[in-house]
Subunit: 423 residues, 2 copies
Amino acid sequence: MYKDLSTEQLKNEKQAVQKKYDEYKAMGLKLDMSRGKPAPKQLDLTDDMLLHCLDGAHISENGVDCRNYGVLDGIYEAKRLFMPMLGVGRYEIIIGGNSSLCMMYDNIARAMLLGVLGGKKPWSKNEHVKFLCPAPGYDRHFAICESMGIEMITVPYKEDGPDMDMIEDLVSKDEEIKGIWCVPMYSNPTGITYSDEVVRRFANLSPKADDFRIFWDNAYCVHHLTDTPDHLLNILEECKKTGKENMVYIFTSTSKISFPGGGLAVLAASEANINFIKDQMGYQTIGYDKLNQLRHARFFRDFEGVQEHMKKHRAIIAPKFETVLNILDKEIAPLGIGSWHKPNGGYFIAFDGLEGTAKRTVELCKGAGVVLTGAGATFPYGKDPMDRNIRIAPTFPTVEELQKAMEIFCESAKLAALEVLEK
Amino acid sequence: MYKDLSTEQLKNEKQAVQKKYDEYKAMGLKLDMSRGKPAPKQLDLTDDMLLHCLDGAHISENGVDCRNYGVLDGIYEAKRLFMPMLGVGRYEIIIGGNSSLCMMYDNIARAMLLGVLGGKKPWSKNEHVKFLCPAPGYDRHFAICESMGIEMITVPYKEDGPDMDMIEDLVSKDEEIKGIWCVPMYSNPTGITYSDEVVRRFANLSPKADDFRIFWDNAYCVHHLTDTPDHLLNILEECKKTGKENMVYIFTSTSKISFPGGGLAVLAASEANINFIKDQMGYQTIGYDKLNQLRHARFFRDFEGVQEHMKKHRAIIAPKFETVLNILDKEIAPLGIGSWHKPNGGYFIAFDGLEGTAKRTVELCKGAGVVLTGAGATFPYGKDPMDRNIRIAPTFPTVEELQKAMEIFCESAKLAALEVLEK
C-alpha cells in the first residue's frame, strides 16, 4: 500500500514507475478509449440486417408501405421488440429515429418551449430551471442541460443508486427542479444498477413542481456481461402503483445492439404522456425512418431474438472487461490507490483514484498515446469536485490493445498517486 | 361564364350540376388527395438502394465505418450529391436525418432556446417573436410557428414571388420579426418560382433584427415536370454579394427523390452559420444515419445521377398533372369560377375558386369520397381570408383515380360557386 511507504520508499517507487511509464511512452502507441463505442466485430453481427431484411417487401404487418410518409409513433412490429424489453404496452411507446440522445434532447427542448403534460407553462417561462444530476454520470446528459442554461445540482451515488434522501428532500421543496437524469441499469459510468428500494422511492417522489420528470435512460437494459445479470424494477409499473405514472420518461436504443447511429431509439411512458408527446412531435416530423424499423423487426423477430443476439455481443466484450479488471486487480488494488465496481453489464468501468489524481492520470495516459474520456466529464459542468473519477470504455480496442492501454493506465495512475503522496 | 347567367339559368345549371354530383356520390368512391405523397411506382424506382448499395462494404471513401458513431455533419460522398444541387461548398452543408421538416423545426427550436449566430439572445427571450408567412404556403411551416407561439404575418403572393415591398418594409421596421418562410421553387402550393429580382431583393433585405433568418425550403429544386424547367437564382451566392450570407438557411431533402421518411434531409448555409449550428447540434446528437447516407451516395453516384433519376419520376407524375390541368381547363375555365397556375415542377396545383367557396368545395368533395387538404390549411392559422384556395396533390392516385377525383372536384367547385352566386 502506497500510503504505508516512507518518503524514501515513495521516491524509489516513483523512479521505478517513471522508468516503466517512459518505456511505454517510447513505444508511440495510439489508442482511443474515450467513448463507449462498439468494436467492428460487434457491428459485423448485424450486417445481414442491411442485406436481406427488406428483400423486395416493404409492407408492414398491418399494411403500411414503409417507404412512404406516415406512422408518427412507429410500426407495430418494431414496438413489439421493445415492449417486453421495457415492460410497457403498445400505447406506451414511440419508436424514434437513430439516436436516443436526440429523443432526450427533443423531450427537454419541447418541455422548455411547449411544456409537459400537467404543467401550467413551458419550463422556459420560469426564471430558473434546475435538474438533479446523480454523478458520476453521462456527460452528454449534463451537456444538454448546460446548453439550455438549466442549472445542474450534483447528487452523489450510494451503493445501490443515487442518494434518495437528498433527492426526496430537494424535489419536495424546490419548484424550480424540473427533472433528474438517471441511467438506472449498469449505470454510465459506475456500472451499478438501482436497487428495488431506490426505484420504489423514485416512483414515490412528491415533487413540488407539477411538471417534474424523471429521465430514465435505460440504455443498457439488455447489455449483460455475466451469468448473474442485475435486475431492474419496472419504474413505469411502480409509478402506476403510486398513481404517478406521468412522472417518468423511459429511453433506450439499439445503438449498442445493432448500429450506433444506424439503429432505433425508443421512448416509453404512460399512455397519457405518449399521446401528449405525439401531439407535440407532430409539429416536428411526419415520422421516423420506418424502413429501418422494418429492418430491425425482421432481423431480430422478437425480444427473445434480441436477447439471443446480446449473448454474441457479450462473447466479444466480456473478455475485454475481464482484461481491464484483471490488470486493475493486479496493479492497483494492492497499492490502495483506487477503487472500482465490477459491473455485471453495460459499457464502462468507473475508476476512482486518489483525490486530485484523475486529471493528471488522463494527461499522463495521453502523453503515452492512450486517449481517455476527459477527467471531470462524468460530472456536471465537467468538474469532479474530488478530481478522482475516470471512465474506462473497454469495448472498442482489441484485447491486445486494451492490455497495453491498461498497463499504461496503471503506470499513469501510480505516477499521479505518487505525485500527490509526495507532497 | 357563370357570372353572365340569369337567376333562372343559375337555378337550372345548379339542378344539372347537383344531379351529376349525386351520381358521383352514389359511386361510393374513396380517394385521398390530401398530401403530397409519391405513388408506390415512384418508390419502386429506388428499391435497389435497399438491396445492393451496402453489399458488405460500410466504409466511406475517407475511411469512416458508417455503422459506428460519428461524423456529425454527414459523410462527404453524401454532401457531394447535394452541393451542386444547391450550389454550395462542402463546408456549407450538413446532411441530416430523414426529414427536412425536422431540420427546420430543430433550427427554429435552437434559435428559440439557444439563439442564432450574431444574435444577442435566444429568440424566446423576447416578449414577442414574429414570422412573415407568404401565403398560400406550406401548412407544416405555419404549424411550427403556431406550436411555438410565434406570431405569423401573412404576406400575399405576386406573380413572381411574395410581395417584396411589404416584406422589405416590415423587416426593416420591426425587430420582433425573426424569420420568413419561403418555398422559392415550384412553391407549395402555387407552383411558381421566385424571379431573379425577388431572390436579389431577399439577398438585399435589411432587417431591423440582427438575428433574422430566411428559411429557404428548396424542397422541389430538381422536381421538374416539363422540358422548360424554371430557374432559381442561388440565394446564398446572392447573399454573399451583399455581405449578408448569414441571413439564409437553405433546406432540401430526398423525400420525393428516394423515400419519404427514409431519405436524407439537408441544410445549407454560410460556413459561419454551419459551424455555429454544428456546435449547437452536438448537444442533440452524435450524428445522423450514415448508413442511409452511404446508400444514397452509392445509388445516385453524383448529382447527374439524381437528375437522371428525376426524369423517371417525371415520366410517372407529369401525366397526372396533365390530367388535372386538362379537366380544369375543360370544366372550370369556361365558367370563370376559378384560376390556377400551370406549374413546371413540384408537387401541387393551387386552385383559387370564387371567394367563399373553398371550404364548401372541400366539404362537397369529401361527401363524395374525395379527401383534399383542408381548405385554409395553406394560410397561417388555417384561415384563408378569402376562403378560396385549395391545394390539389395529384401524385399519389393513379391517372384513372385522378380523372374520377377531378371530375368530382369540378362538380363540387361548380356547386359551391352556384351556391354563392345564387345569394
